[in-house]
């Protein structure tokens, strides 16, 4: 005796798994992400160029201002220099001859440039 199929036949057999869709073909992803990266790099290096030009603009603005700032500062330094010379004359008036000789002695041997009197050689204030 043999089993027979049920009436109406067997149900269809599921031979394929229910896997979710894997998306596009791999080559499409490759070019998509290459494109995105490429655009990013392009934009980045454009930005680098622009930053450099902005820095150049700032630098040239400073170069154009520098002479006038220097001129202003030079006038102030010259003012202090001349007033220091005047002060030294006043100090010398009250000095004894020996102290004055000491005071007038040159501090530097190198005469190739103007030296601003930052440190004044002179007698001890108690000797004045």
């Amino acid at each position: 005796m043999q089993d027979l199929p049920p009436i109406g036949g067997y149900e269809p057999v599921q031979w394929k798994r229910n896997l979710p869709s894997r998306g596009f073909r791999p080559v499409i992803y490759f070019w998509l992400f290459t494109g995105i990266m490429g655009f990013g790099f392009y934009r980045y290096y454009k930005g680098v160029d622009e930053q450099r030009e902005l820095a150049r603009e700032r630098q040239w603005a400073r170069f154009y201002l520098q002479p006038l700032l220097l001129a202003e500062d030079d006038r102030n330094i010259a003012r202090r220099y001349f007033s220091e010379l005047k002060r030294q004359e006043l100090v010398k008036e009250t000095m004894s001859e020996e102290a004055k000789a000491k005071f007038e002695k040159e501090l530097y041997n190198d005469k190739s440039k103007l030296r601003f009197p930052r440190y004044t050689a002179g007698a001890n204030p108690s000797e004045h």
């Binding site: 006038l68 202003e72 202090r80």
Partner: protein
């Protein structure tokens, strides 16, 4: 009352007790703050280039030349003052619009392009001075769609400025 004990509260008089010697002529100082100077820098450079170069060459030739180059320095200052007074005379509002933007945006020139455009146009119309960055063909301040524009509200303010200017005329 506490002032006499607090040195920091001392009100200093702005008097120069040691002025320059009388044989050195007086010159009007520039007296502008950083933002207006930055805004006007390229126009100062455009008009005063010969004086600036002369001054710097003199300094170079005289080993610093602080005392020797006072005359050239006065010329530089006088020229810069002439530019600034011309800007104030012909383009006061535009100048103010631009330097106030710079003041508010960390002196970032890229953040103030809209007001700068208005300002440059006015300066060219009245003083015939142009902003020209040396050494490059593509001028960054003329770039159409820059990437770095900052976060300023310069565009809005410039638009309002133009509108109010139109309604005045």
């Amino acid at each position: 009352m506490l002032g006499e004990f607090n040195i920091a509260r001392h009100e200093w008089e702005n008097v120069d007790k040691n002025p320059l010697p009388a044989d050195i002529p007086e010159v009007e100082e520039v007296g502008a703050t950083s933002a207006p100077l930055l805004s006007a820098a390229y126009f100062i450079g455009a008009r005063c280039k010969p004086y600036n170069d002369d001054f710097l060459l003199c300094k170079d030739a005289n080993n610093g030349g602080t005392v020797e180059c006072l005359k050239e320095g006065r010329r530089v200052t006088r020229c810069a003052v002439s530019v600034l007074s011309d800007l104030n005379k012909y383009c006061f509002d535009e100048f103010k619009l631009n330097y106030e933007c710079l003041e508010q945006n960390n002196h970032n020139l890229g953040a103030c392009r809209n007001s700068e455009k208005i300002f440059n146009k006015c300066v060219f119309a009245n003083l015939k001075l142009t902003k020209q960055i040396p050494g490059v063909k593509e001028q960054i301040h003329l770039k159409e769609n820059p990437i770095y524009t900052g976060t300023s509200n310069d565009k809005k303010i410039s638009k309002e400025f133009l509108k109010s200017k139109e309604s005045q005329n």
